[in-house]
Symmetry: C2
Subunit: 225 residues, 2 copies
Amino acid sequence: MHTAIDTGFLAREQLTKPRKKLKRCSSTAAVKLSPGQFLFHQGDDGDSIYRVTQGVVRLSRVTEKGRQQVVAFGYPGDIVGFPVAGCRNTDCDALTSARLEILPARLPREGAGAEAEAAFLAAAALFEIGNMQEHLMTLGRKSSRERVSSFLCALLRRIGRHDPDGIHVDLPMSRADIADFLGLRTETVSRAFTDLREAGIIELPTAQRVTVLDPVRLDETAEVD
Amino acid sequence: MHTAIDTGFLAREQLTKPRKKLKRCSSTAAVKLSPGQFLFHQGDDGDSIYRVTQGVVRLSRVTEKGRQQVVAFGYPGDIVGFPVAGCRNTDCDALTSARLEILPARLPREGAGAEAEAAFLAAAALFEIGNMQEHLMTLGRKSSRERVSSFLCALLRRIGRHDPDGIHVDLPMSRADIADFLGLRTETVSRAFTDLREAGIIELPTAQRVTVLDPVRLDETAEVD
DNA sequence: CGACAATTTGAATCAGATCAAGGCCCGTGG
DNA sequence: CCACGGGCCTTGATCTGATTCAAATTGTCG
């Protein structure tokens, strides 16, 4: 179903072995992923959560017959890998070279520090729920143009870099990934980009770079109605 | 957009006053809601979470111009009201008379028992994330018939009651609510029900009751492809 | 019983998917 | 250095499924 089945290995395993890290709170074990490499697969056991520190990862689910739903993209600062009952419900792979920090917050654990960890995990999970609710709204109620605008707005706020002639945003993911995230087809995503360009809201110096000329109008376009 | 805008008041306030409950772990303060009554609104402050013990509640978000996205339905046993940064991102109102137990798990709190509470909250939030990911798949990738079948399947597993001639499921929510949950229109939901009926998979004794004749085929219909 | 609300059904329309080229970018090898 | 090849992206034409508009039907509750 996925071209990269072969690259699928548990990077998490790798880092279990490295030097015996202090298992105290601020142990900052990290994982490095090259593009296309998987951190974990749907169905794997595992209860670690991770913070992306560099690069971008993709969280997705696939159906038997290859239909993919991208659940989220993980940018630096994002926390990914929320397990359900000690098990992964998504694949996680890297879109770019990426580095993730393994967080010492896992669920069922006793002893000192467990309280803070659980509280942290809870806070992170609640934040994630908020994001997902927002995304539910996008998938349930927005048109293709609204979806693509919403997507760009979110990216703009997260990683937009100001420039004399606009704010630019790099897109490490393909049109197909964006489509799978937004519940559309690549052609539709492409047409939405073109529409935004023709409306003078964005420019597309290359397919992987967006220059936002009119953030206000982009925001408006992202709203339902 | 909802007939019950006027009934919107903070039931949570009500129960803050009742008899000074022990603020220990197993304090089981409860809220009662009548149909249409709100537990909280989008934007309210509040960090309590609740377990539905009776009835069914609806969690939804509305856009300025009335478009509604139902984020979830809460059935007995479900935990609802996950706050983000001490704030609600959805409305919560009752579809039937409902009763909710206020859980002693809130986020930022110190002292004895806090650890268990945080762990519980985290576990509940992670579970919710899993559900939502499933729902993202539904909204992003499924056809109207697949969506309605998925919805019925989920309900079947949760609240289906066996009977000589099939499993029956009561639907306390309107077609409009189902549509808002599944990202469809009421007419489309209705047509999907009709299709399932004509396929011999379900019966519709009344609009609010479904008898599932062929759960296996219902499951199949719920899958993508 | 009667009226209103909710659901179902029908017909027309439209947005996005699908099918099919064509163009662009970039790395590879002659 | 430039020609070649293969992705990926864009554009065009058509088709399909969901929406929209409209009306009939059912069910509910005073």
